[in-house]
């Protein structure tokens, strides 16, 4: 039993949170249909995750008999999740939503759930007494906030063994809830993603089999202590939620690179912009510099991930054409191509948004603008991939963007009429 903003909360060992005063049960990050989400990318995980999650949820509902239920976002792993529910799972879910006053909070994975189909109401966020319920925790101090999204888990060492459990993380003013879904991984609460949320000591409530074990944050340990340095570049979720799906908390760290899905690199998380480098921003050092040894840039501002990206986009798409037409020196040319090589799915998706931001400068050519608006990044994909394959394949014939093996005759053919066949699936 803990108290936040005068509201008494009962964390359950299943990962649910009961608020007795309001007769409400809160669960977060169900990630239903995660298995089938991977299956459509060619990784046939057992299709029973939805069933397992719903079964556990039903058990918790029986235990607490709440009048209201809140699913705190990321209820489905992707927006099409509800359509892929199998008959039995759908019935079980509808039975639950109709037996309780059900509220779906929007998450970054699925957006707003359609209450007409599955029952219940859908909101961006909601109030509950003194509490605010939302999916992504705010970076600013947010008293009374109950959020999910980050999938916290804690690691304790005891007798030379390391125990890792999902946990509730709270500093007495706000709380981050653990993920409830069967296939959801966890992000260590000592990760810097939690740092801006708790300005002071915080507690982790580790989920055991039947009870919750409170531990102060300072007795927990990181799995890879040496990887993340304190004060490392703080890339908060909104920085990379370009595609409306912050990959960071859920797919990258929580369950790093997930289960080998992501076949074509389209949902790859932000990476170091240097070619062939797999560093992710959380490995950047105190100044936000990539520790990548290939990174020769000196200006720290330019190395900041999101900033660099804007630069890159501007060069590539807005002025890219001029650059290429100009008798530019070879080094410059190479740099451009490197940057193209590192563009992965979400970069391309966020491309238009970035252009709009740049509009204020008024420095761009109108014609380019029109061309981009018309064709979007899809056009780029179709026309450019063979060129990149030709120039940048790290192993011969391998396209760095879509990772499709390009037969040699096509590598040398320059732009080919046929689009790189995996480019289509990049738009999943």
């Amino acid at each position: 039993m803990i108290s936040i903003c005068g509201e008494r909360l009962v964390p359950d060992a299943s990962g649910a949170l009961h608020v007795p005063a309001h007769n409400t049960l809160i669960v977060s990050d169900l990630h239903l249909e995660k298995g089938s989400s991977y299956a459509r990318r060619g990784v046939a995980l057992p299709p029973y995750d939805t069933r397992a999650t719903l079964k556990l949820l039903a058990r918790v509902l029986r235990k607490y008999q709440p009048a209201h239920v809140v699913s705190l976002g990321d209820s489905f792993h992707d927006p099409e999740g509800p359509e892929r529910l199998t008959g039995a799972d759908r019935d079980a879910l509808i039975a639950m939503t109709s037996a309780h006053d059900w509220l779906w909070i929007a998450g970054n994975h699925e957006g707003l759930v359609d209450g007409h189909v599955l029952g219940g109401r859908a909101e961006e966020e909601a109030d509950l007494g003194n509490l605010i319920l939302r999916h992504e925790p705010q970076v600013a101090p947010a008293t009374g906030e109950i959020a999910g999204h980050l999938h916290p888990c804690g690691v304790v060492r005891q007798r030379g063994r390391r125990l890792r459990r999902r946990c509730f993380a709270t500093d007495g003013t706000r709380m981050v809830m653990p993920a409830f879904g069967a296939y959801t991984g966890g992000l260590n609460v000592l990760d810097e993603a939690f740092a801006p949320l708790f300005h002071g000591p915080f507690n982790a409530l580790l989920m055991g089999e039947t009870q919750v074990y409170p531990m102060p944050g300072n007795v927990l340990c990181l799995m890879r202590c040496s990887l993340r340095r304190p004060g490392a570049a703080n890339l908060t979720p909104q920085h990379n939620s370009y595609d409306g799906q912050s990959q960071r908390a859920d797919d990258e760290n929580a369950e790093p690179y997930a289960i080998a899905a992501i076949p074509h690199g389209c949902f790859a998380q932000p990476r170091c912009l240097r070619i062939g480098c797999s560093l992710t921003p959380e490995r950047y050092d105190e100044q936000g510099k990539s520790p990548c040894r290939r990174n020769k840039q000196r200006d720290p501002r330019k190395q900041r991930w999101h900033y660099r990206k804007c630069q890159t986009f501007e060069q590539l798409f807005v002025f890219g054409k001029e650059h290429r037409q100009r008798p530019a020196d070879a080094a410059k040319k190479r740099q451009d191509h490197r940057a193209i090589g590192n563009l992965v799915g979400e970069d391309r998706l966020c491309f238009r948004a970035r252009i709009e931001e740049k509009d204020d400068d008024g420095r761009r050519d109108k014609r380019d603008d029109a061309r981009i608006a018309k064709k979007g990044c899809g056009a780029w994909r179709i026309s450019r991939i063979p060129r990149i394959c030709r120039r940048l394949g790290s192993s011969p014939g391998l396209c760095l963007i879509c990772h499709f093996e390009v037969p040699s005759h096509r590598v040398f053919a320059g732009i080919t009429p046929r689009r790189c066949s995996t480019a289509m699936s990049c738009s999943i």
């Binding site: 046939a44 057992p46 005891q158 991984g185 055991g208 089999e209 202590c225 690179y257 992501i262």
Partner: protein
């Protein structure tokens, strides 16, 4: 394919050959070297030229490899020289378990080819072969290609594999005894079945060291027809001279426990000084590091002593091998990486530190000394503790009489089958009936039911779940004609990146940097180390690796940065998978020795005295009996037993016993397992409880513990989860690598645990669960040996209640605290962590 039609198809030119000897050019070559072709070489050549598959069993130094290639050389030489621009088909494929062996054999084969002036192109293809050469090899194949089982699987997954292998006449399988009884062997057997389809005339030649049951390998070489009679020809080489094996009788005190053999290092060093080139074999990589460090500590003459183990960087290993071959080294400390047939220089003594663990393994190692048949190989065994003295004694007897360990016959693994099915689909659409016929022609799969095969196909296509919800995301689809084809070409690419059955523990590269240095450009990679070991280090900690004392600086990408330093007490990395269990044969022999006081005078005085005191204080069990000692110590009651069944079986037994003791109310607190013994400690006295009739020891060791208790324990067992991960990786559910992503091993571990939990609950009889179970019961759980133990000791448990610890119990008691059963994280630890904090907070002073 039986041998009768084979003979008819035999090419005409063979009739020109003399029936008893080789073609003139070859005979002349043998004569010019002053050699005479050995009987088994000629016999194998004859079988080969008649197109028959054959198994050659000969001891090391018997010219096995040349024998395997002779028929191929004769046939290719008969084709005459290559015309300019002519592209020939691949004639012979050579497959070895080690990359280095393939390279070495290729080099050795060059000599006869050059000296006879034959126009034969020999090339290697391993993971290290550059991409351009691989592509060229597919376009313009050499006559003889040296490769590994993984590369064969890869070659078979290309769409042009039918063209590439269409002219294949012979396949030579080296070190077949090492390859066949593993998952790699399963993959290879399926690959061979496919080769038989692509080139029906192909013959297989197996080269093997002496094995207990040659029929198993003979079956491996020919297509199976469901009976036990399908066997290849068998050619036996003449036996070599019996080896000269001695056991180091140390003047120092032999330790009670531990595996470091620290006491014997000076004597080992003296042995090195007295010989020209010594191979020092150890069982684990951490032991190799330790021994290497100790030897250099003593090495005042600065003899060139080198280190060689699987975690070192490849170029470092190659350097050591080259130096050995040139005779620049005096000693090499190595692990099983040098076990197999590579011929590096003239080794005149093999030293084995620690327990040999198996008679066959010891024979293999001894064979590294002196690659000449007519002189005895010399070996020195160095036991590192008292139980190991017994084990070494047993192994020495076995080596003298050339006794082999028996392997267990295990059916082919289903995860490997799934990988093969996808590989075949990558090459071309397949018909399930045809493929099934091919699969059951492979020896490990000869009893595979059609139903299981169909399950495997379904697994590859849609995951094979009872809940059919993935049909639209299938990886394989059926054409209207009923053939299975790949749904998307990218699947083939991903398959090729993940082919193989070796799943390594998560590794990080170790890179040398300047002290205190952040990563600079460059820096030397000196090898790979288990990620979990590195995770336990804080920056500034020191550890021993690649013969250096290193200071840990930090992790960057997939690299651990370290700098050279000086420290007397560095940590030594532990490695997964470095431990072989004691073989059944040796264990039985050790039990016999213990029970026979007449044998003791043969043992060193210290050891026989130890046994005598044990007999006086407690009792020595007769063969077939299980001794169980119970004594109090520090508020707890210890129950120590001596089954001699190897660590893995003991671990499982320990788990099951503690569960059962808990049920009986004995309040067990923990257990520790060693190779020889198992100790369980409880808060109540189990001896007293048995006396008062609360339970009997018969109940405690009842065989039904392998039923429900096992099932309940396995539900959360970390061992099974780890096995599941390996199976899921091999079967292709989880990919090790996929384009553009570096994924460390630990990242796979987490998610596979979650998948395991869900799958176990909802579909416990899924193909992957079957594969996991089959693996674990022979692997990490060692259930076969455990069940044979329980059957053996039924009604033969000797319980001895003592007032204090017995001499036998000391070694395993000393292991307490050193050895924990990893990962069995449980609820009580969490509660303890939480409570200890509360206690600390509530303390008044």
């Amino acid at each position: 394919m039986t041998s009768a039609p084979k003979t008819k198809q035999a090419p005409q030119r063979r009739t020109k050959l003399p029936q008893t000897a080789l073609p003139d050019a070859f005979a002349a070559w043998f004569a010019s070297r002053g050699w005479e072709a050995r009987a088994h070489q000629i016999e194998l050549a004859k079988a080969g030229l008649a197109g028959k598959s054959a198994l050659l069993i000969a001891p090391t130094g018997g010219g096995k490899t040349l024998a395997g290639f002779l028929p191929s050389l004769v046939e290719i030489a008969d084709q005459g020289p290559r015309k300019p621009g002519q592209v020939r088909k691949l004639h012979t494929l050579y497959i070895s378990p080690l990359k280095a062996l393939a390279v070495d054999v290729a080099r050795n084969l060059e000599m006869p080819i050059d000296e006879m002036g034959l126009d034969i192109r020999v090339e290697t293809r391993t993971g290290d072969t550059p991409q351009n050469r691989r592509q060229r090899q597919r376009r313009d194949p050499p006559d003889i290609l040296m490769t590994t089982p993984e590369q064969l699987a890869l070659l078979l997954s290309y769409a042009d594999s039918d063209r590439f292998f269409s002219g294949l006449k012979a396949v030579v399988l080296d070190e077949l005894h090492a390859l066949a009884p593993s998952k790699r062997g399963d993959l290879l057997s399926l690959g061979l079945a496919q080769l038989r389809r692509l080139s029906p005339k192909v013959r297989f030649t197996g080269l093997s060291a002496t094995v207990e049951n040659p029929d198993r390998l003979r079956r491996y070489l020919v297509p199976q027809d469901g009976t036990d009679e399908a066997l290849s020809e068998l050619v036996m080489g003449a036996g070599g001279t019996a080896p000269d094996v001695s056991i180091l009788s140390s003047k120092e005190r032999i330790p009670w426990s531990g595996h470091s053999a620290r006491h014997a290092m000076e004597e080992v060093y003296e042995a090195i000084c007295a010989n020209k080139l010594v191979l020092v074999f150890v069982n684990t990589r951490s032991q190799a590091e330790f021994v290497f460090q100790s030897l250099w500590h003593l090495n005042e003459d600065t003899l060139p002593i080198a280190l060689h183990h699987g975690s070192l960087a490849t170029d470092k290993r190659r350097k050591v091998e080259a130096a050995m071959a040139k005779g620049e080294l005096r000693a090499v400390v190595c692990t099983s990486t040098l076990d197999l047939g590579i011929d590096w220089g003239d080794v005149d003594l093999v030293i084995n530190i620690g327990a040999p663990k198996g008679a066959s393994r010891l024979l293999q190692r001894i064979g590294r000394a002196n690659h000449r048949l007519d002189e005895p190989s010399r070996a020195l065994l160095v036991p590192s503790n008292r139980f190991e003295v017994l084990e070494c004694e047993a192994a020495r007897e076995a080596a003298m009489t050339a006794t082999q360990d028996g392997d267990i016959d295990r059916p082919g693994a289903l995860d490997v089958l799934a990988q093969h099915i996808l590989g075949i689909a990558c090459a071309a659409p397949f018909d399930a009936d045809d493929l099934y016929r091919d699969v059951i022609s492979a020896a490990p799969y000869r009893e595979l039911p059609r139903e299981t095969f169909d399950q495997a196909v379904n697994f590859v296509a849609t995951g094979g779940y009872a809940l059919k919800s993935y049909d639209r995301f299938a990886r394989l689809r059926q054409t209207p004609e009923g053939q299975w084809r790949l749904a998307h070409p990218s699947i083939a690419q991903r398959f090729r990146m993940n082919v193989g059955t070796i799943v390594e523990a998560p590794m990080l590269k170790v890179k040398m940097v300047r002290p205190g240095g952040r990563a600079k450009r460059g820096g030397r990679v000196i090898g790979e180390i288990e990620e979990y070991f590195i995770e336990q280090l804080a920056p500034g900690d020191t550890f021993l690796f690649a013969g250096y004392v290193l200071k840990f600086e930090g992790i960057q990408e997939q690299e651990a940065l370290a700098s050279k330093t000086k420290d007397d007490t560095p940590a030594i990395p532990a490695y997964y998978g470095g431990k072989f269990p004691l073989s059944t044969y040796l264990a039985g022999r050790v039990r016999e020795m213990l029970s026979d006081p007449a044998y003791w005078p043969n043992l060193p005085d210290q050891v026989s005295e130890w046994l005598k005191i044990q007999q006086w204080r407690s009792v020595l069990p007769k063969p077939g009996e299980l001794l169980l000692e119970i004594f109090p110590r520090a508020d707890k009651f210890y129950m120590v037993m001596y089954p001699f069944e190897g660590r893995l079986a003991h671990q499982t037994l320990g788990m099951l016993l503690t569960r059962r003791l808990d049920r009986f109310g004995a309040r067990p607190m923990g257990f520790v397992a060693s190779e020889y013994a198992l100790a369980v400690w409880c808060l109540r006295d189990p001896g007293l409880m048995a006396q008062q009739g609360e339970f009997t020891f018969g109940d405690l060791f009842d065989e039904d513990m392998l039923g429900d208790d096992l099932e309940a324990w396995l539900a959360e067992s970390y061992l099974l989860k780890r096995t599941f991960r390996n199976c899921a990786v091999i079967a292709g559910l989880i990919e090790r690598r996929f384009p553009g992503h570096e994924k460390s091993g630990r990242q796979v571990t987490f998610s596979s645990d979650l998948i395991y939990d869900v799958l176990r609950e909802h579909e416990p009889d899924h193909l992957l669960m079957q594969a996991t179970w089959a693996d674990a019961s022979s692997g990490l759980l060692d259930l076969k040996r455990l069940s044979s133990l329980l059957a053996r000791v039924k009604n033969r448990i000797v319980v001895k209640r003592l007032d204090r610890v017995s001499p036998f119990a000391v070694p395993v008691m000393l292991e307490i605290g050193k050895e924990s059963v990893p990962g069995e994280a449980n609820e009580s630890l969490l509660a303890e962590a939480s409570e200890s904090l509360i206690e600390e907070a509530m303390r008044l002073i």
